[in-house]
Symmetry: C2
Subunit: 389 residues, 2 copies
């Protein structure tokens, strides 16, 4: 019988996870959640849907476009199917779990995206992540970064590259220059495209002091290994307290990670401002050679709880479990034992015993063919015993 | 600081799962999926959304009303967020995994319902279930029933009551009486309400042979323990091959479960036709005293794959993991170890060692208060050791 494996039945970016892959996905999920727990992060499961207001809180326009909208037939209000779990966990921290000191949460769950993010990306990723609330100390960023690197190593990712930036440096310079919100957005866009000529044009069109001009221009060159941080200090130190704090945070992260994760390549880029409108401090993303997009990303977003009435310092990271699966090698569980059909009491008791002991036992149905190889449960001298293949 | 636990932020029937409960939910999920695996059921994860056509296949109007509709921005086609995973697994069996003999699948995942099912029900249940395709033998129904009872016992449900029916008996009589589809629906409705007077009226208004009249009337009395099956045979045996098959299936189930699950109360009801338009054979539901709705339910639905081009015999069951959680008692994991803040290399190494050994270690952040009780990691004579509380 020829039958094609039909993917045409499913929408673009939507896929089934079939048995072999599903077992690996489940194993990876458990391994990572167990590790989060070992670090003292408490598991939470926010709901798959909630009112759009709370889902999109503090997140900006992009998340709005990524979120499927549905109408609540009970209240008539607009709900969304979450496209990101981070705002949900912020709501939990602000409202449901009002701990005063630091609080650590982790989560795993399916999210839906209206459009794929990047090439060949899933529209049903399984988002997994960890968030640390209540500490503005750089030690919190370092803890989260280490947990992220630990997570990726556990998933089997090798040759990790970590991109690090800090939105406080660009933000501090923009503030010093007295840029309007529009100008700041335009300049931000210029940096993202690393458009040197456009940057010069933008700067010369404005009456900025020479040192600030030089700082804006110099920022574009501040990309590379930890050694760029001393160049950054030379160019920027003393400009403002915010910028000094940002430089100190980057230094502390560089020192801590060089010590604890000497195998990870650190790359600093002071104009890499992913999620600038969302993040408030350190931003980071982990890559591995050959991957199209980042493996995991995160950063500090101290204002996230504000809309929920409780602005707490916050830092965290997230990843797509399905993407990580490509790196994960997992031994399939125990080999199958095949048992014959029938209602024999001793047979049924033997099957129950084996299953309780962790074995996988398939009892054949009448007419079901036994696989030629593998272990079998057979009766010998009145005893049911497992015969090796 | 007083702060209320706000549930008003979430829509009706939508709730967060907070840490203590989330840990139990995760533990129950793992325990049940592991047991499904031990029975030879392969895990699959169908996607959270897909085209509405495939989601609603063979399922009837009720599921349509329960399903949130969303527009696919890529194809312009209508999609749905699944309200039931059973049709998805049927699609997998028909299209993606064309096994010729029996195939066993299990699944766990969040579903969304437009409206709560029953009082105080969640609109974001976590559906968990198992399906057995490719065998029309009653041994397949028995296997699925035993797995369901085993699942509920593992979840901590005690005093189980199992309601059993078979749509083939009502169906066989309706066919013999030559009822139109409309008449059949009306009669079905009368039986669901156990409306004796209406039944008499319905029957006397039609020119039915005396024995068929008596059978339709007698059906209403066929509800009770396994002993009703002999009364059923007296009333119905020899009426049609379908009815004889149905009676034989109920007999086989009664014998098998009485032997393997003597503690479970069996209740047969030949007019209990849950999912009549969907099911094709045995139907069942498990209850426990004090619960508002069934703990788990299922049945045979041999036509489910038809719309996907492959009608295979099928039987299975499903339950809501969140509802089962009420019965599940679970020991919280290892007690927390609290470690001091800092970057001391020996301290970090000790923390890593403990976490890898399965311990939960929270490293304090600068300014984070240590809990007064519990185990602590402390330095003594140059060694980091765990001090009991």
């Amino acid at each position: 019988m020829t039958r094609s494996v039909d993917t045409w039945l499913l929408p673009d970016g939507v896929a089934d996870v079939l048995p072999a892959e599903a077992a690996r996905l489940e194993a990876l999920r458990r391994r990572l959640l167990d590790r989060f727990a070992a670090w003292g992060y408490q598991l939470v499961f926010p709901p798959l849907m909630e009112y759009l207001d709370s889902l999109l809180t503090g997140s900006g326009h992009d998340l709005d476009l990524m979120t499927f909208k549905i109408t609540d037939q009970i209240s008539g209000r607009m709900m969304g199917v979450r496209a990101d779990m981070t705002p949900q966990v912020a709501r939990l921290d602000a409202h449901c779990l009002p701990v005063d000191g630091p609080a650590r949460y982790c989560y795993a769950g399916t999210i839906l995206n209206t459009r794929p993010v990047g090439l060949a990306a899933s529209r049903c990723p399984v988002q997994i992540g960890a968030e640390l609330y209540g500490s503005a100390d750089v030690a919190a960023d370092i803890e989260v970064l280490r947990l992220m690197l630990d997570t990726l190593a556990l998933a089997g990712c090798r040759e990790l590259h970590l991109d690090l930036g800090h939105v406080g440096i660009f933000g501090g310079l923009a503030q010093r220059a007295g840029l309007s919100a529009d100008e700041e957005t335009r300049l931000f866009d210029i940096y993202q495209r690393k458009a040197v000529a456009e940057l010069r044009e933008f700067l010369t069109a404005r009456p900025l002091p020479d040192d600030l001009q030089a700082q804006f221009e110099g920022l574009l060159r501040l990309a590379g290994p930890a050694s760029v941080l001393s160049a950054a200090r030379e160019l920027l130190a003393g400009t403002s307290a915010d910028i000094d704090d940002a430089l100190a945070a980057l230094d502390a992260v560089a020192t801590a990670l060089t010590t604890s994760h000497p195998g990870v390549t650190l790359y600093f880029d002071l104009t890499e401002l992913r999620g600038y409108h969302y993040h408030t401090g350190l931003v980071f993303a982990a890559y591995t050679p050959g991957a199209r997009t980042e493996l995991a990303k995160g950063g500090r977003y101290d204002h996230v709880g504000e809309a929920f009435g409780r602005a707490r310092p916050a830092t965290g990271f997230s990843a797509d479990l399905k993407s990580l699966l490509a790196y994960f090698t997992h031994d399939a569980g125990t080999a199958l034992i095949v048992a014959p059909a029938g209602e024999d009491a001793a047979l049924l008791a033997a099957i129950t015993r084996l299953r309780s002991a962790g074995e996988t036992v398939r009892q054949l149905l009448p007419g079901e063919a036994a696989p030629a190889t593998g272990r079998h449960l057979v009766a010998q001298a009145g005893q049911w015993i497992v015969m090796p293949s």
